[in-house]
């Protein structure tokens, strides 16, 4: 039997019962569509987080007090509670070869009051180096200066979001705000950086580090130290030297601090998102499996219904392999066409998700090829048994079948 004839038979068999064919195909369409959509959403989320993190500066090392639990990522760090990172450590780190800039930081949330407006946000005590280390840009005014830092000055620089929150209708520059009941003058506003994940500078107010430590929170430790490394390829060497120097300085055997490179953060988050994507895709594949069972169900019904036809085909000379091929191709055609429309559906879903601005999704060629091959394989697997059953019918019994 020629391929063209098999396709002709398949076409007329599938068209003979359009409603049933359509409904069975719908199972595969939904299955493939949701797998494609889920993978594209996962990929989109990964890409967006990657670009945000790279925007924070790719040659950045972060030192945090406390120990990051191995295997549990940065989420479970003892940041905020541990007080092992001190001002003296700044000088130690600065001396290390390869370190270009060091930005010690103390952050804490306080209530902030401007004329009439009121917000609760993160106040960040910083020195001028914060700006180059974190790649941030000024919209207006000036950033915290060395003079502010030395004089324990009451100057504040507002993140873009905070600026509009506190001063919705006027220029904040030169206005007074009260942070934890202390008066500050706004000397600068940052331009919006956008999408920097969960700790973006848009939603922060910056004050001099000395003011933060001595006036606002009254502590002498640091909550974080950001270091920009001169050469990106030296990241690991610099990380090791910082680690060794701080161990000596702290007089400890085991580190009471953690050094995280941008790469660590990226790989941890990528892992989380990959797991999440896999989870979503496996839920979606359950519907694909159900769709496959639908195919098998339909094919078994078809074989029973067409028992006489199979008997006749055998009587006029069809071999087992002819019958087997015919029914297998029918099942594969169902899943293949279903797969095609499923890909369209998945693409449509991810397009809508992107269009609504929820997440910038990416339909990869890989997931499309995967969906096509998976749907074909499903056709073969779930069509195999019905086709085999059809091919093994005895022509005499089949012809007699009522």
């Amino acid at each position: 039997m020629k391929a063209k004839d098999i396709l002709h038979e398949t076409y007329s068999a599938l068209f003979a019962n359009k409603a049933r064919t359509g409904l069975t195909m719908l199972g595969i369409i939904i299955g493939i569509g949701s797998v494609i959509a889920m993978i594209s959403i996962g990929n989109g989320a990964k890409a967006s987080i990657q670009s945000s993190i790279e925007g924070l500066g790719s040659n950045l090392l972060t030192i945090m007090p406390g120990v990051v639990q191995p295997g549990r990522g940065i989420v479970s760090s003892g940041r905020g509670s541990a007080q092992t990172l001190k001002n003296e450590d700044i000088e130690v780190v600065k001396e290390i070869e390869g370190v270009s800039l060091v930005s010690p930081e103390v952050s804490r949330r306080f209530q902030v009051v401007a004329t009439g407006s009121n917000t609760n946000t993160t106040i960040m005590g910083v020195i001028p180096e914060y700006m180059p280390v974190h790649n941030i840009l000024l919209e207006n005014g000036s950033f915290i200066t060395e003079a502010n830092q030395r004089s324990i000055g009451r100057q504040a620089v507002l993140g873009a979001t905070v600026a509009t929150d506190l001063f919705p209708e006027q220029d904040p520059l030169g206005k007074n705000i009260r942070i934890n009941k202390v008066n500050f003058v706004v000397t600068g506003i940052l331009s919006s950086k956008g999408g920097a994940g969960f700790s973006g500078p848009d939603d922060m107010i910056f004050v001099p580090l000395s003011t933060m430590q001595k006036i606002l929170s009254g502590v002498d430790y640091l909550t974080m130290m950001s270091i920009s490394v001169a050469d990106k390829n030296m990241m690991n060497e610099v990380k090791d030297s910082i680690n060794n120097s701080l161990l000596i300085k702290h007089h400890v055997e085991e580190a009471d601090f953690s050094i995280i490179s941008q790469e660590d953060v990226l790989s941890t988050l990528s892992n989380i998102i990959n797991t999440f994507t896999l989870f979503l895709a496996s839920i979606a594949s359950i519907s694909l499996l159900v769709g496959g069972i639908g195919i098998m169900n339909m094919m078994l019904t078809t074989v029973t219904e067409r028992t006489r036809e199979i008997g006749l085909r055998k009587a006029i000379g069809a071999k087992r392999i002819d019958i087997n091929t015919q029914f297998l191709v029918e099942a594969v055609m169902l899943t293949f066409i279903g797969g095609f429309f499923g890909i369209l559906l998945g693409w449509l879903i991810s397009f809508v998700v992107s269009y609504l601005g929820i997440i910038q999704t990416q339909v990869s060629l890989f997931s499309v090829l995967l969906a096509f091959s998976v749907s074909t394989v499903i056709g073969i697997i779930f069509g195999y048994y019905p086709a085999r059953r059809a091919s093994q019918l005895n022509p005499i019994d089949a012809l007699r079948y009522e």
């Binding site: 004839d5 003979a16 085909r313 055998k314 006029i316 000379g317």
Partner: protein
């Protein structure tokens, strides 16, 4: 050309075994029109299945065109059916929602015959079976009973078989249409020299053939005096 020697067929259902054929022997020459007649349960259908290479015998030999069919595998039997045998069934067994032409071409499709050749041979067979060209592109379920059976006869003819096997071909037709179909068989036999075996339980139908073989309780017999052949004129 058909040589059947001492064929038996035993069915085993659990502990009980049943002999449907108890040593049947006969031979049929090329171009003969034979009727095999017998009541239901006589072994008539079993014999037809064996002659049609749909089933194999338990013992004995069956030579068709000099080839021993009784020892062949399933797929080899399929080849025999495709190349040497044309079936006409009581219930027609055309593919529904399929054109007349496509139905007739079906055996050629399994034979891998080229498209143009297929169509030519299918049309030739349809003309032979006496169907008007206007019906060639109709769907099989748009035809009358008599027309359907002619399509089925054309399908049996299309692969130019050594043997046409008709199992109660008039069973589902009224007597007038039945006569037309019997007339078609007589014409194919006389004008084209086709070898035809007609299986029936009715004496009247059987009398349209040259020879009648009677089967009863799995044994075959033939009236030595023969019978007067009924000839249909409006062929």
């Amino acid at each position: 050309m058909i040589e059947v020697k001492n064929i038996t067929k035993t069915y085993n259902t659990g502990d009980v075994s049943f002999n449907a054929l108890n040593g049947v022997s006969f031979s049929i020459k090329d171009g003969e029109f034979i009727a095999i007649m017998g009541p239901s349960g006589s072994g008539k259908s079993t014999l037809m299945h064996i002659l049609g290479a749909l089933d194999s015998s338990t013992s004995g030999t069956y030579f068709l065109d000099g080839k021993d069919v009784s020892t062949l595998s399933d797929d080899e039997l399929a080849d025999i059916r495709r190349d040497k045998i044309g079936f006409v069934f009581q219930s027609f067994n055309l593919l529904p929602r399929t054109t007349v032409l496509r139905n007739v071409m079906l055996p050629l499709i399994y034979d891998g015959v080229k498209d143009t050749e297929r169509e030519r041979r299918a049309k030739e067979a349809l003309f032979s079976a006496g169907l008007d060209e206007t019906h060639f592109h109709h769907l099989s379920n748009q035809l009358s009973g008599g027309q359907i059976q002619r399509v089925a006869i054309a399908r049996a003819l299309v692969n130019n078989p050594s043997l046409i096997l008709a199992d109660e071909p008039t069973g589902n037709l009224d007597s007038k249409t039945g006569e037309i179909v019997l007339g078609t068989f007589q014409r194919l036999n006389e004008e084209e020299g086709r070898t035809i075996i007609l299986i029936t339980h009715e004496q009247y139908i059987a009398e349209h053939a040259d020879r009648i073989l009677f089967i009863k309780d799995g044994l075959l017999s033939e009236d030595p005096n023969g019978h007067e052949k009924r000839i249909i004129n409006n062929k």
